[in-house]
Amino acid sequence: MASESKGLWKIIGASSLGTLIEWYDFYIFGSLATVISTKFFPSDNPTAAFLATLATFAAGFVVRPFGALFFGRLGDLIGRKYTFMVTLLLMGGATFLIGCVPSYESIGFMAPVLVLLLRLLQGLALGGEYGGAATYVAEHAPANKRGYWTSWIQTTATVGLFVSLLVIMLTRMALSKEDFNEWGWRVPFWVSIIMVAVSYFIRKKMGESPLFAKVKAEGHLSKNPLKESFGNKANFKYVLLALFGATMGQGVVWYTGQFYAMSFIEKICMVDKMQSDVLIAIALLMGTPFFLVFGALSDKIGRKKIMLAGMLLAVFCYRPIYEKMYQTVSIKNKVEIVSKQNTKLSFVINPKTNLRDSVYTTNYYYQDGAEKTDVKTIFLMYKGKGIVTSKEEIKASIIVNNSDKWTLIWMVFIQVLFVTMVYGPIAAFLVELFPTNIRYTSMSLPYHIGNGVFGGLLPAVAVYLATKANDANSLAESAGQQLPYDKPYLEGLWYPIIVSGVCFIIGMVYINSKHKHIDD
């Protein structure tokens, strides 16, 4: 019994470590996007900027489902173990090579093209990895603990984000700002190859999934997993059910809790970047163990109840939560200590124009301890023979007091709890929907469409809805009419609310909550 449990921990460890590294690889590109864009995608070159957009969007939305199909098929044909070793090597290799590509200044257009190709390979590998790891662990786990064991895989996406931020932070601390911007940003990419090598050798020692090995020994392997998964009505109906009744809602709840909350606090509430990073990190840390709690609970009371409860709570709580966050930070609710207000003027040489731009930094202080900083930059440029003021740019940032900081942390934590409710049990749920011989293919596609497409598009759709509301308000204001939107900053939430709501109804009505056996 003890050795069986030890063996399971090895399987969990090997699978989770590899998946964590893949998430790490995927996130460092996003976290270092600003530096990467200056090195490979200069904004003054429209083609390079276009490639940058493709690299951002395509890897997440388009390529991931293709990776799910390609590697899912492979996993059902040759085995889970070999397939998720290939995805690991592919991801690690692509990440390492991104760190080696010479800059745009050195090799011109080849630089953004190479980075785009490597980024697409990353998306492809990520599409193949998750299904393999989840299936591999689920096929080893005892039936009454499948939710708990697979929930370890579910923690990797959050922990991978942490590790990526940590490695980047340590690299920044170890180097000067100039060195980091010059070559130090490549270090987190190079680190990946060491982690991948360790994970590869651990995974190499593991055996094949017992259920897959049994199906193979009995000669029941699928000859064409894609056709049997998506061309066969009896199975395809479950693929659709998995997408519209589970992963679609899970994807948007996941992205809202982990990424939209961050963007809302930084860009809408204008909380200082450092403070918002810290409070998000604390909320994520507090929430991460709940992946395991809800995974284990799903073994006792069923996956469906927990996932759907998470979606329903999200539907009803998102608007009050975001309103609370907005009002907590809003300076309209604070009393300024006018006597402490001060403005400083400084000058910076603009490298593009070689002219001296003026920077006015104004600090405002409030009775509750909050501080607001407005940085107004007046850019100068040449026009003909003269110098003119070209434009003004104002950046505001707010540092809230400790009590408000904790209010924000709790608000994000509640959203992370919803994430853990919908995401913790989902691997076990998906695995249990499909038969062993086409499981990898069948579960990977709805997962990556739900997360990559429905979830991945959330920031863009939410920004679109909020901008539309703001534009409508501006128009009405200029025409002297009543504003059509009372709270335009909350409009972006309609996307996750509607998607989760529809997903809840479909899941509630169509998903059968009876206990499933996966050993066919």
Binding site: T53, F57, V62, V509
Partner: protein, 77 residues
């Protein structure tokens, strides 16, 4: 009282109507304006993804799901 299987079949019509509504608003309000009059690269790529990735999945998938529901494929025996 309406049985669960009947409800599943009836809701099939709702999913088909929802698919049609998504197609209409997704193309006319959301995707096409971004492709026809983009405000930059992000807008254009976003519009293309809406039209050629998100819409086919939502519309095609929901239509198929609705048809399967009406056909009783999700009925419990």
């Amino acid at each position: 009282m309406i049985s669960m299987n009947k409800l599943k079949r009836l809701l099939g019509i709702v999913w088909i109507l929802l698919a049609i509504a998504c197609a209409y608003f997704g193309i006319t309000d959301f995707g096409w304006p971004k492709v026809a009059h983009p405000k930059g690269n992000d807008d254009l790529v976003f519009g293309i993804i809406i039209l050629f990735v998100l819409m086919p999945i939502i519309v095609g998938g929901l239509l198929k799901f609705g048809i399967y529901a009406i056909q009783g494929l999700y009925d419990e025996e």
